[in-house]
Subunit: 298 residues, 2 copies
């Protein structure tokens, strides 16, 4: 059987089932970051993201932005767990015919983003490869009481996103701002039940949150913020690479958040009991089933 038949998530699940971890691992594979015991007040967060030419970026794209993105996607994972990024290592597979100007510019994109968030680039590995391949592994810390995972959503929660969705592939995926500040604001002021960053599309990433909690949900079509580069609602639902935060709050917390900041956080739906599935409601007030979907590698 080809792995294409099993699909990306089938393959990941197949790996995950076979892994055993010891008691120092609070949360292993299956969230935005791994969570490891660290000290009295903090957990360590550990995450990795591989970018491959032709899949995550095109060879004609600006190397500065490719370098920037390679660090930013891991920062976004740390943000989704409400942590602070601290250290990273960079593995670089480079075709031998690239110019020094290209690798200089690529590296400047990495350095500038790392510097902006006070992340230490502490090491790396350089290899020859046919296609430019960048893998960044990042360590962060999070205060124990601040940690937010994908699990933890409750029935009746309000579902929120930061920023706007869709059309990211037309530019934003190379220039997005990881939502560290927003995650900090949220966990300082509210009890965030569940959170994830949207990398594979709103519907697919929301389904991770719902699956973990065994819940359904309804989305309000009119409330889903569409990026100016999105062509339609479908792109906002499925396109992915938004790197916005998707999270749920209790109703009282949701009300407070709406009063505090309606601009950066949009309520887009509510969780529902398990049997409900995933639906959307439009202007006409009718419920429609939302088909599963989003970016998949296989």
């Amino acid at each position: 059987m080809h792995i294409r038949k099993l699909g990306e998530f089938g393959l990941i699940e197949r790996f995950r089932r076979r892994i055993r971890t010891d008691s120092t691992v609070i949360k292993g594979s299956g969230d935005d970051c791994a969570v490891i015991k660290f000290d009295k007040n903090n957990y360590l967060l550990f995450t990795c993201d591989m970018l491959v030419e032709g899949v995550d970026f095109l060879s004609r794209e600006n190397p500065y932005l490719i370098g920037r993105k390679s660090i930013a996607v891991s920062v976004s994972d740390i943000a989704a767990c409400a942590g602070v990024p601290r250290y990273c290592v960079v593995s670089l597979g480079v075709p031998g015919n690239k110019s020094v100007k290209f690798t200089d510019t690529l590296f400047k994109g990495m350095l500038d983003l790392a510097r902006k968030y006070k992340i230490n680039i502490v090491g790396g590995d350089l290899s020859r490869a046919e296609k430019l391949t960048i893998d960044v592994s990042m360590l962060g810390v999070v205060r124990k009481e601040r940690l937010v995972l994908r699990k933890g959503a409750k029935a009746g929660d309000i579902i929120f996103v930061t920023g706007a969705l869709g059309g990211s592939i037309r530019g934003k995926h190379l220039q997005f701002t990881p939502r560290l500040k927003e995650a900090r604001f949220l966990t300082e002021n509210f009890k965030v039940h569940a959170m994830i960053d949207i990398s594979d599309g709103l519907v697919q990433d929301l389904s991770h949150i719902l699956k973990q909690a065994g819940l359904g949900a309804v989305l309000y079509e009119e409330s889903i913020p569409q990026d100016k580069q999105a062509r339609n609602l479908k792109e906002a639902l499925y396109m992915g690479e938004d790197f916005e935060l998707l999270f749920t709050l209790s109703r009282p917390d949701a009300r407070k958040l709406c009063l505090k900041d309606r601009r950066n956080f949009k309520a887009i739906g509510e969780t529902r009991p398990p049997g409900y599935g995933l639906k959307s409601v439009g202007k006409d007030g009718r419920e429609r089933n939302i088909a599963a979907g989003g970016f998949r590698h296989f």
Copy 2:
């Protein structure tokens, strides 16, 4: 200018010069692992290694052994700093036409080696790629007083290796045993001045130790242990992928080590003052210059 002209180490040096790290980073890029402040008694070690099909292994090779190697190379880096490996994340770029049997076997190779050394696989990233690409990032811990780096060799030190060198590409590179046990024994009983694992070849990796200390060295040709798969001394000097430990001890410590264990540790030479360069002495007693060389990606 193409990066090929700058060369692997030229390119790495070009990146390294531009990196700034904060005071929590004891040792950034440029050693087998990064060393980061952790707690009162221990440092955190952080390392990554990327394996690319066609460079670090061939597509026809046993996927179990490819998976095994992908974890083992990082364990070897942790061993070179005298640490204990604890956690890793795995980024996997896989061609869509691979079979589930292939990825199952690959993953079993990873799991078995991780389990052997009690390493927690805590996360990963899965991506489509044209060539199988595996990047493992590993965290380890080391007691502060045990930490050994590439720097620290002193004039008159005796140079040692574990195991035997050369011919690794004919099989050992896929089945080597990372020298964790040996590193522990050494740092429990001796003051190891400098240590590195041999990945790019004895001459090239020794030159890293010598460069850091500003020293020369002489190697005794007859004393360099050749693996049974090595065809000649040249392969033992230059071939690489041995994943043996190369380290230096003071003369009194060297004498003690030879009395304790002559089987697992071989004295192969001595450091010399800076102007001496790198030479070898054969049966005839004559000194020969050793040409620089070893595995380079560009």
